[in-house]
C-alpha cells in the first residue's frame, strides 16, 4: 500500500511524438514542501513540470494530487481544473491588464471585496504595495516576476509550479529574489515545485531536490544528501565542485589512493583490487603546514571569503583545496594538505567517452578514519 502524499508522480513516462523525453519518473511532495527538479538543459525537467500542470499528456504512469488522478495514460484533467498555479520563465504577465487586473485574473469568481483584499494582501507580501494600477511594461524584471508570483498564488492553488523563474534575471537580482520568494512561499505554506539548472537556487529554495539527466531522475533527496552522498557519477559531477581520484579497493572497508588508505565504517561492496574513483570535494581537503602530504599549486582562484587552489599530487592527479584567505600562496609553490573526509564516495570507473557506467550507483559510506 502506497502512502498518499500531497502530490504523487508515479512512474511517469512522457513523449514528444515517438521519442520518450522523460522515463519512468517518480517523486512525491508533502503539503507545504518545496521540491526542485534540477538538471542541465534538455534533461526533461520542464517537460515533467508541464505534465504536472496538464500541458503535456503522460504516456504511461500517473500523476495524482490529494488522492485525485490528474493525468494518466488515458485521461487528462484540463489545466484550468487542476487548481495548480504556475510562474513562467518569461514571466508572461498579461500586457493589456494592470497589475491588479493581472492578479485578479484567476479569482474573478470571488466577491469584489475579497478580490481587492487579496490583491492588497499579495502586493504587500511581495513588497510592492503601490503598483496596483500600473501596467506590466512599467515594472522592472524583478518586480514583474514578483507580480507573476502573486498572480499565480492569488487563487490559493494546491500546488505552485515555478519554471526557471529566475533565469531571465541578472545575478544580483537573483540573489536577493530567491530567498525572498522562498520566504513568501513559506509564509503562505505553499507546496511548490521549482525547475532550475542552477544548484544554488535549488539549495536555497528546496526541501527536496530531484536531479535529472537524460529524462531520468538520477537522485532524489535533500540538498545535503545529493551534495555529500551522490548516487552516481553524473550527480557527483553536476552538483558542486570536485575531482575524481583514481583508487583501488584494498579490502571490504578500505580503499587505496594517492591520498593513502581511506577506511569507511560500512562495507564498500567491491571485490578487493577493483579499480574505482573517489570523489574529492574542495572542502574535503584542508591546508595543513605540517602535513607530509604536499601538492604543487597549479591554479589559484580568489573567491572573496577563501582561496580555491588546485594542487597536483606527485602522481600527477589534481585535487581541489579550499584555504582561508590568509593562506596566500603562489602558483608553483608546494602546499601541505590533509584529508578531512566525512563521506567516502566510491564510484565505479567510467569510460569518459561513452559514460557507460553513468547510471551505476555509487557506494557512499561514512568514513571513520584516515590512515597512511
Amino acid at each position: 500500500m502506497k502512502i498518499e502524499k500531497h502530490l504523487n508522480v508515479e512512474s511517469v513516462t512522457l513523449a514528444y511524438g515517438e521519442e520518450d523525453v522523460v522515463h519512468n519518473a517518480s517523486l512525491s511532495l508533502e503539503k507545504g514542501e518545496i521540491g526542485c527538479l534540477l538538471g542541465p538543459s534538455g534533461c526533461g525537467k520542464s517537460t515533467l513540470l508541464r505534465a504536472i500542470a496538464g500541458f503535456e499528456p503522460v504516456k504511461s504512469g500517473r500523476i495524482c494530487m490529494r488522492g485525485q488522478v490528474l493525468s494518466d495514460a488515458h485521461n487528462i484533467l484540463p489545466t484550468e481544473q487542476r487548481n495548480i498555479g504556475m510562474v513562467f520563465q518569461d514571466i508572461a504577465l498579461f500586457p493589456h491588464l494592470t497589475i491588479a487586473e493581472n492578479i485578479v485574473f484567476g479569482i474573478k469568481k470571488w466577491s469584489k471585496k475579497d478580490q481587492t483584499l487579496r490583491v492588497q494582501e499579495l502586493l504587500s507580501l511581495i513588497g510592492l504595495p503601490d503598483i496596483a494600477e500600473r501596467y506590466p511594461h512599467s515594472l522592472s524584471g524583478g518586480q514583474q516576476q514578483r507580480v507573476a508570483l502573486a498572480r499565480a498564488m492569488a487563487p490559493k492553488p494546491d500546488l505552485l509550479l515555478l519554471d526557471e523563474p529566475f533565469s531571465g534575471l541578472d545575478a544580483n537580482l537573483r540573489e536577493t529574489l530567491v530567498p525572498e520568494i522562498r520566504d513568501i512561499l513559506r509564509k503562505e505554506q505553499m507546496s511548490a515545485i521549482l525547475v532550475t539548472h542552477d544548484q544554488m537556487e535549488a539549495f536555497a529554495m528546496a526541501d527536496k531536490i530531484a536531479v535529472m539527466q537524460h529524462g531520468r531522475i538520477q537522485q532524489c533527496g535533500s540538498a545535503f544528501n545529493i551534495y555529500h552522498e551522490p548516487k552516481n557519477r553524473f550527480v557527483a559531477d553536476f552538483i558542486g565542485l570536485g575531482e575524481f581520484l583514481q583508487a583501488s579497493i584494498k579490502d571490504e572497508y578500505s580503499v587505496d589512493s594517492a591520498l593513502g588508505c581511506l577506511v569507511g565504517d560500512e562495507p564498500l561492496g567491491y571485490a578487493p583490487g577493483t579499480s574505482v574513483e573517489l570523489l574529492i570535494r574542495p572542502d574535503d581537503i584542508q591546508h595543513s603546514e605540517q602535513s607530509s602530504l604536499t601538492g604543487r599549486i597549479v591554479s589559484k582562484w580568489f573567491r572573496g571569503s577563501h582561496y580555491l587552489y588546485h594542487v597536483k599530487l606527485a602522481n600527477g592527479e589534481v585535487l581541489p583545496c579550499i584555504t582561508a584567505c590568509h593562506h596566500d600562496h603562489d602558483v608553483g609553490e608546494d602546499l601541505g594538505i590533509s584529508i578531512e573526509l566525512d563521506h567516502l564516495v566510491v564510484l565505479p570507473i567510467c569510460d569518459p567517452e561513452t559514460g557507460v557506467c553513468d547510471l551505476q550507483e555509487s557506494e557512499v559510506v561514512q568514513t571513520q578514519a584516515v590512515a597512511r
Binding site: G54, T79, R82, F94
Partner: protein, 551 residues
C-alpha cells in the same frame, strides 16, 4: 468530482490543420495551373512569340530591372545612411517623409509626369514660350520610354531599399563602428569598409522587393509603350485570345520571380547573424553643418519632391481646378473600390488567422507547408495570378453551365469567372502573405506562456481566446485588414483582367482615362488612391518614429 476529458488522440485530424491545408491548396491553384502549362498545351503561338517578340520582352524586362536596381540603390542607400547616421536640419522629418512615395502607385506617377512633361504639358509649353522655339527645334527628355519607365519605377520603389537598409544601419551597434575607428579607419572609410558590407543583406532584400514590384508592374510599362513580359501576357491573352500561350509566357516571368525570391531568401538567411546582441549602444550621430548639411538636405529632399510632392500636388491641382466629375461616376467607382477592397481584406485576414493559429497550435509539417504555400502568391505578379485564376474558373464555369442546362435547363451564366468571386479569389492569393505577416507578428508577441498562465488561472481554451487573444490581437488584425485593403485598392493588372463586365474600380478607371489621354479626368480617382495609400505609410513611419524614440 472533477470532470475528466478523454485524451485527444494524436492521430485525430484537427479542423485547424485540415482547413489550413485546404486553404493552401486552394490558394496554390493559380500556380499549379500556370506550372501545368509548361508541359502541356500547343506550342504554336509560343513558338511564334519566340520568333517575334520574346527577345524584346526579355531584353526590356532585364534592362528595366537593371535600371530600376541602379535607381533605387542610388536613391535609397544614401538617404538611409544620412537619416540614420548623420544629423542635419530636417533629419527627423526626412526619416519618415522618405517613405511617402510608397503611397503612389507607379502607373499613377507615370501618367502624372506624362501630363507634366509631354509636348502639351506645362513644362514644355513654358520652354517654348521662353525660348520661342517650335516643335522639333529643341531636345527634351521623352518620358514615354524605357528610361522614363525606369525613372518612374525607381522614384516610387526606392523606399523598399531605404526602409530595409535604414533598419540595418540603425541596428549596427555603435561599438562596431567605434572599433573601426580605434583600428585606424575614419568615418568615411568605416562607411565603405564596414557599414555598407554589414548592411548588404538588408540592401539586397530591399532591392529584390523593388525588383519584384518592377517585374509585376503592368500599368507603367503599358502606358509608356515598353514591351515587357506583363504587357506581353496581356496582349497574348486579349489580342490572340490564347490563354495557353499567355500562361507559357507567365512561366517565363515566373522563373525571373523565382530567382529573385531565392536571392531574397538567401540574403535574409545571412542577415540573421547580424542582429544577435540584445543591447546596443546608440551611435553618436555625425553632425553635419554648412555646405555638407545643405547637400544632405538636398539628397533627402529630391526623392520626396519628385516621388511624392510634385505628382501629388499636380493631381490635387487637376482634381480641384479642372477635373470633370459631372457624370457622378466617381462616387460609384469609389464605392466599388472600397467594398471590394473591404471584402478582400476580410477574406484574406480570416484565412491568415486560420493559418496563423494552425501553425501556433499544431506546428506540424503539414501546417508549415501550408503556410509557406499560401504565402507564395505575394511573389507573383498580378497578371500571372489573373491568368492562373481565369483559366480554371472559366473551365469550371463551363462545366457548371453544362450541368445546369442538362439537369435544370437553366442558363446560370458565368458564376465564377464573370463575377467578383474570381476577383476576390485573385486578391486573396496575391495579398494573403501580407495579412499573414501582420497577423503572425501580432500572434508571436503573445508568448505561449501567456496562454499557459491563463490556463493555470482557470481559463478554458475558449476563454483564453476571448480574454487574452482578442484584446491583444486587435491592433495587428486591424493593421492586416488595412494593408490588404490599401493593396487591393491600388491593384491594377489582375483587376483589369478579372473584373466583371461593366464593373470599374478607381484604379481601373484612372488607368483607362489616362490611356485615353484624359489625364486630368483621371486625377480625382488617382488622388483618392494616393490618399488612401498614405494611411499604411503613416502607420509605418509612426512605428519607425517609435522605434527611434529613445534617441
Amino acid at each position: 468530482m472533477f470532470v475528466v476529458t478523454p485524451l485527444k488522440s494524436p492521430y485525430r485530424v484537427n479542423w485547424l490543420t485540415s482547413s489550413s491545408f485546404v486553404i493552401a491548396v486552394l490558394l496554390a491553384l493559380p500556380i499549379f495551373v500556370i506550372a501545368g502549362f509548361v508541359f502541356s498545351g500547343s506550342a504554336d503561338v509560343f513558338t511564334h512569340l519566340y520568333h517575334t517578340v520574346l527577345f524584346d520582352y526579355v531584353s526590356n524586362s532585364l534592362l528595366l530591372m537593371l535600371g530600376v536596381a541602379f535607381g533605387v540603390l542610388l536613391l535609397g542607400i544614401p538617404t538611409a545612411w544620412l537619416t540614420s547616421v548623420c544629423d542635419f536640419p530636417g533629419r527627423r522629418i526626412f526619416a519618415w517623409a522618405l517613405l511617402l512615395p510608397l503611397a503612389v502607385p507607379a502607373y499613377i506617377i507615370a501618367y502624372t509626369y506624362t501630363g507634366l512633361l509631354d509636348f502639351a504639358g506645362p513644362v514644355q509649353t513654358a520652354i517654348r514660350q521662353l525660348t520661342g522655339l517650335g516643335y522639333g527645334e529643341y531636345w527634351f527628355f521623352e518620358i514615354r520610354s524605357l528610361a522614363g519607365a525606369i525613372l518612374m519605377l525607381a522614384l516610387v520603389l526606392y523606399p523598399y531599399v531605404y526602409l530595409l537598409s535604414r533598419a540595418a544601419f540603425l541596428e549596427q551597434s555603435a561599438s562596431t563602428l567605434e572599433v573601426s575607428r580605434t583600428l585606424g579607419y575614419n568615418q568615411w572609410q568605416g562607411l565603405f569598409k564596414l557599414a555598407l558590407p554589414l548592411a548588404r543583406p538588408a540592401i539586397i532584400a530591399g532591392l529584390t522587393l523593388a525588383l519584384m514590384e518592377t517585374l509585376a508592374d503592368y500599368g507603367t510599362v503599358q502606358y509608356f509603350g515598353v514591351n515587357t513580359f506583363t504587357t506581353g501576357i496581356f496582349r497574348t491573352f486579349y489580342g490572340f485570345g490564347d490563354a495557353v500561350a499567355a500562361a507559357q509566357l507567365a512561366v517565363c516571368l515566373l522563373s525571373f520571380v523565382a530567382l529573385l525570391v531565392l536571392v531574397e531568401k538567401y540574403s535574409r538567411r545571412k542577415s540573421r547573424y547580424h542582429s544577435s546582441a540584445e543591447f546596443k549602444a546608440k551611435a553618436k550621430l555625425i553632425s553635419l553643418s554648412g555646405w555638407k548639411a545643405a547637400v544632405a538636405f538636398l539628397i533627402c529632399l529630391l526623392p520626396i519632391l519628385f516621388g511624392f510632392l510634385i505628382p501629388a500636388g499636380q493631381l490635387a491641382f487637376w482634381s480641384l481646378t479642372q477635373a470633370d466629375l459631372s457624370d457622378g461616376s466617381f462616387f460609384q467607382l469609389a464605392w466599388n473600390s472600397f467594398y471590394l477592397a473591404f471584402l478582400a481584406a476580410i477574406i484574406a485576414v480570416s484565412f491568415a488567422l486560420i493559418l496563423a493559429y494552425a501553425s501556433r497550435l499544431n506546428p506540424k509539417k503539414v501546417v508549415r507547408f501550408s503556410v509557406a504555400t499560401a504565402g507564395l502568391g505575394y511573389a507573383l505578379p498580378g497578371t500571372i495570378i489573373a491568368i492562373g485564376v481565369i483559366i480554371p474558373f472559366a473551365w469550371m464555369d463551363h462545366q457548371l453551365i453544362a450541368m445546369a442546362k442538362k439537369w435544370f435547363s437553366v442558363d446560370i451564366g458565368l458564376v465564377l469567372s464573370g463575377t467578383l468571386v474570381a476577383l476576390l479569389f485573385a486578391y486573396t492569393v496575391r495579398f494573403l502573405a501580407v495579412s499573414l505577416g501582420a497577423v503572425q507578428s501580432g500572434l508571436d508577441k503573445i508568448k505561449p506562456s501567456i496562454d499557459g498562465a491563463a490556463r493555470t488561472l482557470g481559463c478554458t481554451p475558449m476563454q483564453v481566446l476571448k480574454q487574452i487573444h482578442v484584446p491583444l490581437m486587435k491592433s495587428s488584425v486591424l493593421t492586416a485588414l488595412l494593408i490588404v485593403f490599401v493593396d487591393v485598392l491600388k491593384e491594377l493588372p489582375a483587376t483589369l483582367i478579372l473584373r466583371p463586365f461593366n464593373f470599374n474600380t478607381l484604379a481601373v478607371r484612372a488607368f483607362e482615362l489616362a490611356s485615353d489621354e484624359r489625364l486630368i479626368d483621371a486625377a480625382p480617382a488617382s488622388l483618392l488612391i494616393v490618399a488612401v495609400g498614405l494611411i499604411p505609410v503613416i502607420l509605418l513611419s509612426r512605428s519607425i518614429a517609435k522605434g527611434r524614440a529613445g534617441s
